[in-house]
């Protein structure tokens, strides 16, 4: 009986710990402000947030003070300031950030909604709201801003969007496997991406043309499970490349491999062939068709003559063109056709 009780106690403690870790139970003494309770009492927002109806784009945030609270709660149950427990600190910080990052005047909106604050601040009616700031979609509910969206003119509301660094949570969601997904998402809206992201952010991955090493190692303390070349990528890169032929050419040129392999002394003129015995008479043709960029990585440029020696017209290697080959090139004039076909052949 005692053992069972001990097990139950341990389980309860473990569950409580899990609830804290998972964020199911708040550890801090503060909790979301009881907006809902005040609303149900029929207290108008401006009774606490005095001056909000006339608030402009600058000035105080009109958050209630202890004196405002004591106007009704005349016998406080604690000597500490009310905001130490009532209201999460990050909600206040979010309001301060919004003041700095957005152009917004309450005075112009209060009259438009007849003083009905909840029409925009919808989440204050919830028991435990994550935020009390309206989402951008709520703004778009009245202000269509179609023209501003079309012209990528965000400056009307956002003071400095790239510096703001806010992840959008109701539009342009950066979610799931975004590294894989971002290309297709950006195709139709590259200039929309540029409203937040600068050129250097693209170049940190797609700027492979200039520097020999991607700068990801600079973020050595910024661990992440997403990202293409993280962790032990160097060990598994050959298998990764085989698993998705052609993908590497999205960022890398065909000379990238030989440049790096030569530096690392794993390939190049002074090293042995990496191919298995009998490669030339075996599957090299099929493998080359599956991922020609792998061949071009080492045998590109002057190295192409190795192929031409056997596969030129009339050569012992035969016709290298595989199924599905079609081209509008002139076989006698355009490179690479003329390498094998030559003039007059």
């Amino acid at each position: 009986m005692k053992t069972r009780l001990s097990v139950l106690v341990v389980l309860a403690v473990a569950l409580a710990a899990c609830a804290s870790v998972l964020g199911l139970r708040h550890e801090s003494s503060s909790h979301p402000f009881e907006h809902r309770a005040h609303m149900l009492k029929g207290i108008n927002c401006v009774e606490c947030h005095g001056g909000m109806a006339l608030a402009g784009d600058e000035g105080p945030l009109h958050l209630p003070t202890d004196a405002d609270c004591r106007h009704c709660h005349q016998k406080p149950h604690d000597v500490r300031s009310c905001v130490q427990c009532h209201g999460e600190p990050y909600v206040r910080q979010a309001a301060e950030l919004a003041r700095a990052q957005l152009r917004f005047e309450h005075s112009r909106h209060m009259s438009a909604v007849n003083g009905d604050c909840v029409r925009c601040h919808t989440e204050v009616a919830e028991a435990r709201p994550q935020t009390v700031l309206p989402k951008m979609a709520t703004c778009f509910g009245c202000h269509e801003h179609r023209e501003q969206w079309t012209l990528r003119d965000c400056d009307g509301c956002h003071v400095d969007l790239p510096t703001e660094g806010t992840l959008p949570d109701d539009h342009l969601v950066h979610d799931g496997d975004f590294v894989r997904e971002h290309g297709v998402r950006a195709a139709s809206a590259r200039d929309l991406c540029a409203s937040c992201h600068t050129d250097r952010q693209c170049a940190s991955c797609h700027g492979e043309g200039t520097v020999p090493a991607l700068p990801w190692k600079l973020a050595l303390g910024d661990v992440s499970l997403s990202g293409l070349h993280r962790a032990g990528f160097a060990a598994r890169h050959a298998d990764e490349a085989r698993a998705d032929p052609g993908l590497c050419t999205t960022c890398h040129t065909e000379s990238s491999c030989i440049d790096c392999h030569t530096r690392e002394n794993v390939a190049g003129p002074t090293t042995n062939s990496p191919h298995p015995p009998g490669w030339a008479n075996g599957q090299h043709g099929e493998q080359a068709r599956i991922d020609p960029s792998s061949c071009a990585a080492c045998h590109g440029g002057a190295g192409e003559q190795l192929c031409v020696g056997c596969h030129r017209v009339g050569g012992p290697g035969g016709n290298p063109h595989g199924p599905g080959f079609a081209s509008r090139k002139d076989e006698h004039h355009d490179r690479p056709c003329r390498l094998c076909h030559g003039v007059g052949q």
């Binding site: 209630p64 950006a186 195709a187 139709s188 700068p215 079609a326 081209s327 509008r328």
Partner: protein
């Protein structure tokens, strides 16, 4: 297999040189203090790296009073490996001009060009966009594909454009064209179509396709459709890649034929608890007739509401002809007080067919960083791994960073950040 040697003799000497260069670059800030300016400089040194020490200097200037002009530079400096001394190169150097209402935009300099179905390419050139209030967009671009360290280029250039029509934030359709030449010969000529649609808040769809004009056929096509709620998201995706058509048409290997690869899959994300995200992804692949697939499971636990600390675990499996392996990876990031932060990453990959490359490839990195209030950060890490090439390899990394930022001056009508009430 062999073991790598210990740190190179000139490691600290070069790191100090790089740090001095960084400090000199930072010195610019005081001279430019009159203008809104952002400057960040990083110096990275590796004991074993072939490109170490390396440094990055970011310089970004913009003016809240004149938001129609901005400039940005990202400069890499370091040891290129094999070269006798430190060298440098430009990753980005752009000047961006923007019509105040967004009707036109232009950028010139060195940048990554990516629009519509055009493959991303780093160019020295210009990109101009003109927009109409009814949603029509015309883009044109041209320039010289970048060669490291301003190397010689003979009749290499790239030009193209894109025409698009958007309907609010609901629909966007675009058609693009690009032509690229090497030594005067066409190396790439593609026509592309792109589309994006978000008819309702919980659904968005995007796709593009690039058609190779030189070797007629679809070079690349990708599509993605996602549905979401506040707690979960499901994405279906598919792709078509024709490696032969992605190579420059001037390459001998572009004439081998067309054995494309196809991928179809799904990724799901579920917020199982306020601080716990679970993700799963799986895809079936057809690589030149060989069928296979890949998939992964991922869990991310934030250690606090702000996400300053986190733990993550991932299991991954790739099963395709010629590439079969299983991997497990774990990460942790733990704040140690206000200024210190500890982070670590561990990965173990086991190939199904080692073929003399080792039965497993473990990799690990453990880092500690220290940040000051005035923008300086010092981080050190130890990296250890076993790879198909090396029985074991150890590396020490040191990074010194400084980020200096002068807040933009408040435009007319804006006051300072208000106090908390």
């Amino acid at each position: 297999m062999w073991c790598k040697t210990t740190a190179r003799d000139r490691f600290w000497q070069r790191f100090v040189a790089c740090a001095v260069a960084t400090a000199n670059a930072i010195g610019l800030e005081s001279r430019a203090a009159a203008d809104p300016l952002r400057l960040r400089a990083d110096a990275l040194a590796e004991a074993e790296g072939t490109s170490s020490p390396a440094g990055l200097v970011v310089l970004q200037g913009e003016d809240a009073m004149r938001p129609w002009v901005a400039a940005e530079a990202l400069v890499w400096t370091g040891d290129r490996g094999g070269t006798p001394s430190l060298t440098g190169d430009l990753l980005v150097l752009t000047l961006r001009l923007r019509e105040p209402h967004g009707y036109a935009e232009a950028r010139a300099g060195r940048f990554v060009l990516a629009t519509g179905a055009v493959h991303p390419v780093q160019i020295d050139g210009a990109h101009v966009i003109a927009r109409a209030p009814w949603g029509s967009t015309v883009e044109t671009f041209g320039g010289l594909p970048v060669v490291p360290r301003f190397g010689a280029r003979s009749f290499d250039w790239l030009a193209g454009g894109r025409v698009a029509q958007t309907v609010g934030s609901t629909l966007a359709l675009g058609v693009s064209y690009v032509q690229r030449r090497e030594d005067g010969e066409i190396s790439n000529e593609e026509v592309g179509v792109d589309a994006a649609m978000a008819p309702v808040r919980w659904l968005d769809v995007a796709a593009f396709g690039a058609y190779d004009v030189m070797s007629p056929g679809l070079a690349e096509g990708r599509a993605s459709a996602a549905v979401r709620s506040s707690d979960w998201r499901l994405e279906l995706f598919g792709s078509h890649l024709s490696p032969g058509r992605l190579l420059p048409a001037t390459s001998l290997f572009s004439v081998l034929g067309d054995l494309p690869s196809h991928t179809v899959g799904a990724t799901a994300r579920w917020r199982a608890a306020p601080r716990l995200d679970l993700l799963a992804s799986g895809a079936g692949q057809d690589v030149a007739g060989g069928l296979g697939g890949n998939g992964w499971l991922r869990a991310m636990l934030r250690l606090d509401d702000q996400g300053n600390g986190s733990l993550g675990l991932e299991a991954r499996r790739v099963d395709l002809p010629g590439a079969q392996w299983t991997g497990v990876r774990a990460i942790s990031a733990i704040p140690l007080g206000k200024r210190f932060r500890y982070s670590s990453e561990i990965e173990i990959v086991a190939p199904d067919h080692p073929d003399g490359r080792g039965v497993a490839w473990p990799w690990g990195l453990s880092a500690v960083s220290w940040r000051t209030d005035d923008g300086w950060e010092l981080a050190g890490a130890l990296e250890a791994s076993a790879t198909p090439l090396h029985r074991y390899e150890t590396d020490a990394l040191v990074r010194l960073s400084c980020a200096l930022e002068r807040p933009s001056q408040n435009p007319p009508g804006r006051g300072p950040i208000a106090a908390s009430r």
